[in-house]
Symmetry: C2
Subunit: 252 residues, 2 copies
């Protein structure tokens, strides 16, 4: 039996506003969750500023190490939107105006003041690209080979992901089953490790939290097989209960 292929993606978040702390990123969790449904694992995230050299270096590292590379941010009409130019530079291709993107923007801006030069920037793509439709705001996303160039505003990103749903080759999604309670993880570390080691094809993550001055944790069993994850989580719950802890399915 050949080992199952695991499909991976990286996400490159482009934008000074994330690195300055001004904007709380929401795209990492959103893209991660969407990718998993497609059977693709998010293997790495990088956040870089609106700086061409930094974008080029990250794009070239991540696109060769992963099946897919997604980027968010920097595809608007203003001077700080340099993602398309940087990715074209990374690929060694010129930037061209995509005729379909131009048509889409012309229609979108027909009743909104017309297609200005600034707005036409949003029809520029690395030469050879296809478009990713955007129901929300007109300007499309861009696909070039294994690179998917998406907007940074989270609900527009979501619209573009929606347009890609079911179109990418992937494997089996990872599913997870959680149990948790007011259990100090340091008291059950051996049990967690032994449980993980006793089963093939599962991983257990331990995520502590503090509430009202008390320590608790959620234990997340991950697998590509829901039945296996459920069985291990049930076993873990039984072991924790035998040891005197109160834990609940689904975690706390």
């Amino acid at each position: 039996m050949t080992p199952k292929r695991i499909w991976t993606a990286a996400l490159l978040v482009i934008g000074d506003e994330i690195l300055s702390g001004r904007t709380q990123d929401k795209n990492v969790a959103q893209v991660a969750t969407w990718l998993n449904v497609q059977g693709i694992r998010l293997a790495e995230v990088r956040v870089v500023p609106d700086n061409e050299a930094k974008i080029v270096a990250a794009v070239n590292a991540l696109r060769s190490e992963n099946d897919y590379l997604f980027t968010t941010g920097g595809i608007g009409p203003t001077h700080d939107d340099i993602t398309v130019d940087a990715i074209a530079a990374a690929l060694g291709v010129p930037v061209t105006v995509h005729p379909d993107a131009r048509d889409i923007l012309e229609r979108y801006y027909e009743t909104r003041g017309g297609l200005t030069e600034a707005r036409l920037r949003m029809a520029r793509v690395p030469d050879g690209a296809e478009l990713i439709m955007n129901r929300v705001s007109g300007a499309p996303g861009i696909r070039h080979g294994n690179i998917f160039i998406l907007a940074g505003v989270p609900h527009i990103t979501a619209g573009m992901l929606d347009a890609l749903t079911g179109t990418l080759e992937g494997g089996r999604p990872v599913v997870s089953v959680t149990v948790g309670g007011m259990v100090p993880e340091s008291e059950v570390a051996d049990l967690l490790r032994e449980t993980e080691q006793a089963y093939e094809g599962i991983a257990i993550g331990s995520y502590p939290f503090f509430r009202e001055g008390k320590v608790g944790a959620n234990f997340v069993v991950r697998s590509e097989e829901l039945e296996k994850a459920q069985a291990v989580a049930d076993q873990l719950q039984a072991s924790l209960e035998s040891a005197g802890y109160l834990v609940v399915p689904g975690g706390v």
Copy 2:
């Protein structure tokens, strides 16, 4: 006049739970904001899974490219906490039990069931490290050279950052002044670019949003000099008002 030195840091977020989408990261914004107050710019973020080879590669890339490297996550007592071992491997030093960390944990767990082997894991450091105090939960953070190894649970991370406040060499913080309103950024792209180009030592970011079906944007003027940022923001506001837009200081 020699150019001003800019101090940079990278942040490495370690944890499967961020990449699976289970946990919404809060440490990027928190660390970014704190660093800026120290006069240090967050230049890059990477998120990697609980995987030694991935952590080693990221640590070695980021620690040499930046003045400081911060890591969050993976320093607890359970089997999936491998950050210390991975960073020691990256540095080529052994892992040792830090005697002060051991003392701290012994005192902390004296009334909480004692210092078990799992808990003693939290006293392990890459050889040669110093401790970063943690008022919140006992187990300390770790400093080794220019690497700062912090907890992943955000309020514990915050406690460790607090212990480091004012101890790191940095330059001048970047300050920002925002103006914004229900302005489509594509209509004012030229004005934004020209304003940015007309002044030295400032950058303008344009951050669009959609609310109740309408398009707006905040324009953020960044500089190391508050008076300069304020003057440019005032000028930008005046120009936008001349062009017929209603914008307000502080943004919307």
